[in-house]
């Protein structure tokens, strides 16, 4: 989908698609949980804390979706929404443009490793890889974003990035000033949990898969309930292959395009069972297995990888500026 094709659906108030209210609801619940814990001592309990951590992760999922296709009709509102999301994850949401849209979606096609490639961790005890992954993927991502920003011709990236950083850290700093310990335990820890979990997803979705294959580069989690709350982020193969496709359309597209072509072992019904099986019940990191023949480049169901990448790049960058309508 080209930048100019990001069209508003007629008849939806405020948002481009009515499904976006689910994402807004997720973020509202998250802010509600953080606010409750910060202002109401009775809410500082394990249940609310665990809920805040989980919704912090979902907030990062919303960042991911929003950076592919903005939630609102108004571009200005989309940029404001980024700042709100940035506070929830304690990192500037715009970092996703270079880190996710422009680098992760390319895998290592550009020569160097993806900043969040599974190869960055190499413990034999696989659970340690899952725990440690954000410690290496996070700094690589932010260093990479700085390098990208230095040479980017994108007109407003740096200003927007700074604005989001100032809002996220400014508001968190203010909470520290008001009540240090409550801010640390009941705001910052959930924020960091979500931001670090979204990094871990890169490992979960790609470790052991074949990034040079068109259909076996990603692991999918296809449970219906999981994908409802995760806004279809379980369908990762089709997301990579059609980065411009709205998240609400991924489930049928996965069935139609991916399932007939992929290695079925890369479809997992439950992420919880996969995590238990891969990181707890089996201590050693699974060896990289073959996932069937890699389909040849003349698969007519997909445009060439470079063309798809270029279109997705244009879309991501167009979402980031007020200048493109």
């Amino acid at each position: 989908m080209a930048a100019s094709e990001i069209a508003a659906s007629p008849g939806t108030f405020l948002v481009r698609r009515r499904e976006e209210w689910r994402q807004i609801g997720i973020v509202a619940v998250y802010w509600g949980l953080l606010g409750a814990m910060f202002f109401v001592p009775a809410a500082r309990n394990v249940l609310v804390f665990a809920g805040a951590c989980y919704f912090s992760f979902l907030n990062s999922v919303v960042i991911h979706n929003h950076m592919h296709q903005g939630v609102f009709h108004s571009k200005r509102l989309n940029l404001v929404w980024r700042a709100i999301l940035s506070f929830g994850a304690l990192y500037p949401a715009s970092a996703n443009i270079p880190a996710h849209n422009l680098v992760h979606h390319h895998f290592d096609d550009d020569g160097d490793l993806d900043w969040a490639a599974p190869d960055h961790v190499r413990f034999r005890w696989n659970l340690l890889n899952l725990l440690h992954f954000p410690n290496v993927a996070g700094p690589r991502t932010f260093a990479g974003v700085q390098r990208w920003a230095a040479s980017s011709r994108h007109p407003s990236f740096v200003n927007q990035y700074r604005l989001e950083t100032a809002f996220a850290f400014g508001l968190t700093g203010l909470l520290f000033v008001i009540d240090f310990w409550t801010a640390l335990f009941f705001v910052v820890i959930p924020q960091l949990y979500g931001a670090r979990c979204i990094l871990r997803i890169n490992l979960i979705q790609h470790d052991g898969a074949q990034v040079h294959s068109e259909w076996n580069h990603s692991r999918n989690f296809v449970g219906r309930g999981f994908n409802w709350i995760m806004c279809n982020n379980g369908y990762h193969t089709i997301h990579h292959n059609r980065a411009g496709m709205h998240w609400s359309e991924l489930a049928p597209a996965h069935q139609r395009e991916v399932v007939p072509r992929m290695d079925p072992r890369l479809d997992e019904r439950s992420m919880v069972w996969y995590l238990l099986r891969t990181y707890l019940l089996r201590p050693l990191r699974p060896a990289i297995e073959g996932h069937g023949p890699i389909p040849s480049g003349d698969d007519r169901s997909l445009a060439p990888r470079a063309q798809r990448r270029a279109e997705a790049d244009d879309t991501a960058l167009a979402e980031s500026t007020l200048a493109v309508s």
Binding site: D110, G111, F123, H132, A143, R153, L184, F186, V188
Partner: protein
């Protein structure tokens, strides 16, 4: 909650130390395999100092280390480079050992070529402002400005060479290390020793600082000023030690695949 936070803090401190430990083990293992020899011995794996007397590669190079880079810029006189690939090429040729023995080297892909990193940085520098001006239009495009930074080991240059030494009618060196054959413009054992000490210092320093933060955070009375400063320091340290750990990991990559990156700035 404080105990949970401290437990998470320490798990990650130790994971970062353990990841540095993995680098340490790899470098120490490589150093051990580079057993210094005074002269070649049949079937021994070890390191010898030599001088290049002939190179069969382009411009008489015995071997070369190549970094493929892509430069990007926005037309403001600055180009930023990212590394796309690191390659070592042994073209073949002849070296002379300190005792005058000559050794024939056969071209192979199974060789690591360690350049002098200062020489590589010099090779990567722009020859003039005009070169930057010429590169800028390409660097502004999506594909960027591709270039190849090559450092060659040439005739007359002192080198260190490690592998399996064999003698038939004359001495030869074959791939015998885990990475094959090593040809280096710098003393690899000294380089490895220095990097190992840096890693050890990092691990010790990291744990000491984390312990100091923990001590302050748990200083009685709990949740008072000292405790608060300790917790703040622990949070800051937790966020800061991760990029430091990654920088360390990148800085101990062996010279044949060390990141070059860098930038060009046009002077008016």
């Amino acid at each position: 909650m404080a105990a949970l936070a401290l437990a998470v803090f320490w798990i990650h401190v130790l994971l970062i130390a353990a990841a540095a430990g993995q680098d340490l083990i790899e470098l120490a293992r490589l150093r051990r395999s580079l057993r210094p020899l005074t002269s070649p011995r049949e079937a021994w794996v070890g390191l010898l100092r030599a001088t290049v007397v002939r190179g069969d590669g382009p411009a008489g190079a015995l071997a070369s280390n190549v970094v493929e880079q892509v430069g990007r810029g926005k037309g403001d006189g600055k180009l930023y480079f990212s590394d796309a690939a690191h390659r070592s090429e042994l073209h073949g040729g002849e070296i002379e050992l300190a005792d005058g023995v000559r050794v024939e080297l056969v071209a192979t892909d199974a060789a690591g070529v360690w350049p002098d990193l200062a020489a590589r940085a010099a090779a990567a520098a722009p020859s003039s402002s005009a070169q930057i001006t010429e590169a800028e239009p390409q660097a502004r495009r999506a594909k960027g400005y591709p270039r190849r930074v090559e450092v060659e080991l040439v005739e007359g240059q002192p080198v260190w060479i490690a592998g399996r030494w064999t003698h038939a009618d004359r001495w030869q060196v074959e791939p015998g290390l885990a990475g094959g054959l090593l040809i280096s413009a710098i003393d690899p054992r000294r380089w490895l020793a220095r990097k190992c000490w840096i890693i050890v210092s990092f691990i010790v320093g990291e744990i000491v600082i984390a312990a100091a933060c923990t001590l302050a955070a748990t200083w009685p009375p709990l949740f008072d000023w000292v405790s608060m400063l300790g917790a703040g320091a622990a949070l800051g340290f937790f966020l800061a030690v991760q990029p430091v750990g990654v920088s360390l990991n990148e800085s101990v990559r062996t010279p044949d695949r060390a990141y070059l990156r860098g930038s060009w700035t046009r002077t008016p």
